[in-house]
Symmetry: C2
């Protein structure tokens, strides 16, 4: 039985809601005239009603114990926002044409993270569609959509959603999202959807009235933790596992990105994440479609991506923040907050070879030893990026890497990420050197909450040694500042950056050293004094030497490859990529000294 | 470097204490005259002082930031109680004579749980010693000592200790414990020590003044959780891992029983328990002594006892509450609180064959699916009992199983436990049918705490459908009521019970079906309508049929064994065990009907 309002085979609509502590539940269907229908109690705290004649688009609420009228926790649509009634959606009606689409393996993915509200001036799903073809031609194979579950107001990042089954109306609602996914699949692109299972937003969260969805046994940074291991947690888990399956079933998404799983507090013998993975993979097998789960995790614990046979939870992949931080600090020299733990060339080499940098090493930021080794996990289980909504947006001004590391630095970052043995993720716009910031913004209705968010942002950055004030998160202009300047992509250095990305993505596909994510076939070394890294990578008889110069000076070094001859594959400092020009030879045979431009990278292929 | 006050090779005494947030630390040595010595700051928040001439028995405190004078968190002795000064102990002085003792394998252990304060009228370690020989001759191979870390007052269970490295003075202090352990080893018996790492008691807990030992991110039933995974947790972990090693090194204990590990909240990638197991096993290897860790865990998660290679934490064994509850409910018919989840013959059969009964099954008590399978773990990794301090003492009146299930029932319980494929644990006195209760008692100094504990006990049992009041936990007579009536053991049914235990323990050692803890070589069945269980167990060519009748009626059934002939090994209803007499044949060949006395068990051996 599915939660929410679902049409049965015979056209009747079944309403199912979990309210284990209620004595009476009624379904109130909006009229005119309004109808109040009794619901029947089912086992384990569920309540059910079946309605004969009700059309999609009808609005409804539940009435709890004859008193509170509340939207459906599993509402598919909140057309009037988070405080309004729920609306019936008939998911069978959408004309899917992607029957031949069977999903995508992680190893094929190049992910492009999109915030629907700022990717285009319109800020809608439909407005994304015309841009897909170009992205695909560039080499992007998957779109990752930041959370769309209904959140308060007209704009926001989406992580404070309160209707995990619904789709933000200002983006275009359920139909809009389906059209976008349909278009992606038509284009041959996969869709990753960002979902938040660690908390629900504070505004418009009526789950408290229904049942013990939350627990006070643990604390999260965002309020009370979801009840994943206490009394009644089976049904709380079911709410979220059904949610995951809902996106795969009704929206044909290909993967879910699970937000901040480190805030899913769960000490049970069979953790929620493991149960979720089992159910999603069972669905995947049963439907001959690749359905994947990718976790954002700050635990540095590869247990979550190991198979259950060796004690893992069986998720498919996870983000590697260590990779980002190691790369970011080499490019920016930043050392505040968590960046204090990175900044050495050896960190990035370790990230390349093992995944996690912090594998039990002492973290000065956390003031404890942190993490455990992930060296046993294959490269395709890690999603890496040189920037993403978090790393950009959590800065006071939301500045992108290009603002911090410059054009040449951004090219090194792109190469380091795309030609890594991991799954690369691009943040929308980085491919053409977009400079619009991505600051934090909300659109809350509750003035107390608005004040709290403003104060929170101010406080956060008072400790970050910043001068100035963060942009007002509630202001419409803050969102507007984040809208991409998409037309720029054809011009000058923007165009050169796109060409560079295209070439990187082509190499990643075409060159066997890059096309397989085998981090084992690699050796590397960091020349700390020069901020220079070299990596030797191989696949069968093929071999590539990668040199990355992160310093702002010319780097001089002996060519680290043996044998030869070597042919230059890619050189970021060349004029064709809008670089300052290169002094590196096209071909190397025998001993040779290299002189690399500041912030540049070069790749040599063994002939 | 060791925490606490430790003599160096050259006879000087080194004081080491962790106080990461202090600006100044001083060592105050009690005189006359008192001496105040400065301490030097070391890395990671430690402070050190070395004193030239100071004798064992000298008392001291630390002075924090020139203000608070506090006992040592790693004090080895608190001769004036939890609020008094710490006292220097020279652990090198004890004349150990157990150089040939190398510990004991779990498979050899038959554990006898002792509460030092009530095992004898004197309530001391020394008073235990004269009883060891007799216990060993009965077949007991290991003594488990309830917590001895210094706790408030003169009496208590010991779970609210506040000096994990010290030894309760009213029991006889450090020397007393060493003498007891020496005597055990001389007798050929191992020692298991119960230690509490999940919280510290509320009275006499000065750790707050020293550093972030606790966290408010999680809640325990007993107050704030220990900080095992937050900032500074490396040193908090070190405090407890050093504590474990302290008992193995300075006291020659053979195993630690880790109290309630489910209240050790820890989401780190390398959990504290895994780190503890590594360090203890490293010590074990380095010293050619078997040093073991046995967890009390309510998680039903075999991960904690799996080896790290398959994702486990590597502890050696754990208690199986499921076994107890399944057995207890069959014998008593109780169904309140957590007993609601048990009571079927199939539960006990499952416990025998797999370890955990709750392996993901829905628990009505917990209102969620609970646990994961432990079927892959060998029998010697589970410690089972038909009663223990918790199961007896957590009852309002502290009544033992014999009070609830009667003499015949207690014999069935003994057989079920001792002839299980697990490590049996006996609660002191059960071997001679002791009837003294074991109620909860304390001896606190703080009147508010006394009132809170009294109220807590009253509240706890108001919900347990009890009539009457629990005994006053603070009263001396409550402790006195728990003192064993040791002299009874020679008389009548008490003596018969001892003889029965002796025979069970002999069978466990001598019969190859029982001497190996192979729960795989077993099939079983519960006849629910008759409350009868039969188990067939084998080892090589040997085979035993076990029949347990839990009902209060005569049970009639066909002899469930094939082939034959079968010879009766043991029959609890026989007169020699003070039973009502048996109608069961000594020998069975071919088909046969059995008529088992109420609450009885019989074991047949394939000839």
């Amino acid at each position: 039985m599915n939660l929410g309002a679902n049409y049965l085979e015979d056209g009747r609509c079944e309403f199912l809601v979990w309210a284990p502590q209620a004595d009476r539940m009624e379904l109130k269907i909006s009229g005119p005239p309004d109808q109040l229908l009794p619901m029947q109690r089912r086992e384990r705290g569920y309540w059910r009603a079946v309605v004969e004649e009700v059309t999609p688009g009808t609005r409804y609420r539940y009435r709890i114990d004859g008193e509170k009228e509340r939207p459906d926790p599993a509402s598919y649509d909140q057309p009037e926002g988070v405080h309004g009634p729920s609306q019936i959606v008939d998911h069978r009606r959408f004309a899917w044409e992607d029957g031949k689409w069977h999903g995508m393996a992680l190893s094929e993915m190049v992910i492009y993270e999109v915030h629907v509200g700022t990717f285009t001036p319109q800020g809608t799903f439909d407005a994304v569609i015309p841009r897909l073809k170009e992205l695909h031609e560039l080499g992007i194979t998957a779109i990752e959509i930041m959370p769309v579950a209904s959140f308060p107001g007209e704009r926001g990042w989406g992580y404070d959603g309160t209707y995990p089954f619904a789709v933000q109306n200002s983006y275009g609602g359920p139909e809009g999202l389906k059209r976008l996914i349909q278009a992606c699949h038509r284009e041959g692109m996969a869709v990753v959807l960002d979902v938040v299972y660690n908390h629900l937003g504070p505004e418009g969260n009526y789950l408290w009235d229904y049942g013990p969805y939350f627990t006070d046994r643990y604390r999260t940074p965002w309020g009370e933790a979801v009840n994943f291991d206490g009394a009644y947690s089976d049904e709380v888990r079911r709410y979220f596992t059904q949610n995951a399956l809902h996106w795969f079933k009704n929206y044909h998404v290909d993967a879910l990105r699970l937000d901040a799983v480190h805030a899913i507090y769960d000490f049970s013998a069979k953790p929620f994440l493991q149960e979720l993975a089992e159910q999603v993979h069972e669905f995947s097998l049963g439907n001959s479609r690749n359905c994947l789960l990718i976790a954002e995790s700050a635990l540095n614990n590869a247990r979550i991506i190991r198979p259950p046979e060796i004690g893992g939870y069986g998720l498919d992949a996870q983000w590697s923040d260590d990779f980002h931080h190691a790369l970011h600090t080499l490019l920016t020299g930043e050392d505040l907050e968590y960046y204090i733990d990175y900044g050495h060339t050896g960190d990035l080499v370790k990230a390349y070879r093992e995944g996690f940098v912090y594998d039990g090493r002492y973290s000065h930021y956390q003031r404890r030893r942190f993490g455990a080794s992930s060296a046993d996990r294959p490269g395709h289980q890690f999603v890496v990026s040189s920037q993403n909504h978090d790393q950009v947006g959590n800065r006071m001004l939301g500045d992108r890497l290009i603002t911090l590391a410059g054009f040449e630095g951004a090219k090194v970052a792109a190469a380091a990420t795309i030609l890594s043995p991991f799954v690369p993720l691009l943040f929308m716009g980085e491919e053409y050197a977009e400079e619009a910031p991505f600051p934090y913004f909300v659109h809350l209705g509750d003035p107390d909450l608005v004040a709290a968010v403003r104060e929170g942002r101010r406080e956060e950055f008072s400790s970050f040694h910043h001068t100035g004030e963060p942009p007002d998160p509630q202001s419409e202009t803050t969102r507007e500042s984040a809208v991409l300047n998409w037309e720029d992509r054809h011009e000058g250095r923007h165009r050169a950056m796109r060409d560079f990305y295209r070439e990187l993505l082509r190499l990643r596909r075409a060159h066997s050293v890059f096309s397989r994510q085998e981090k084992e076939n690699m050796e590397g070394f960091g020349l700390e004094s020069q901020k220079l890294i070299w990596l030797r990578r191989w696949q069968g008889a093929r071999e590539v030497l990668c040199l990355l110069n992160f310093s702002e000076k010319v780097a001089e070094c002996a060519f680290p490859g043996r044998r030869g001859p070597w042919r230059k594959l890619l050189d970021s400092s060349e004029g064709q990529w809008y670089g300052p020009g290169s002094e590196l030879p096209d071909r190397v045979e025998g001993k040779c000294r290299l002189k690399m431009a500041p912030r540049s990278c070069v790749y040599y292929d063994l002939e």
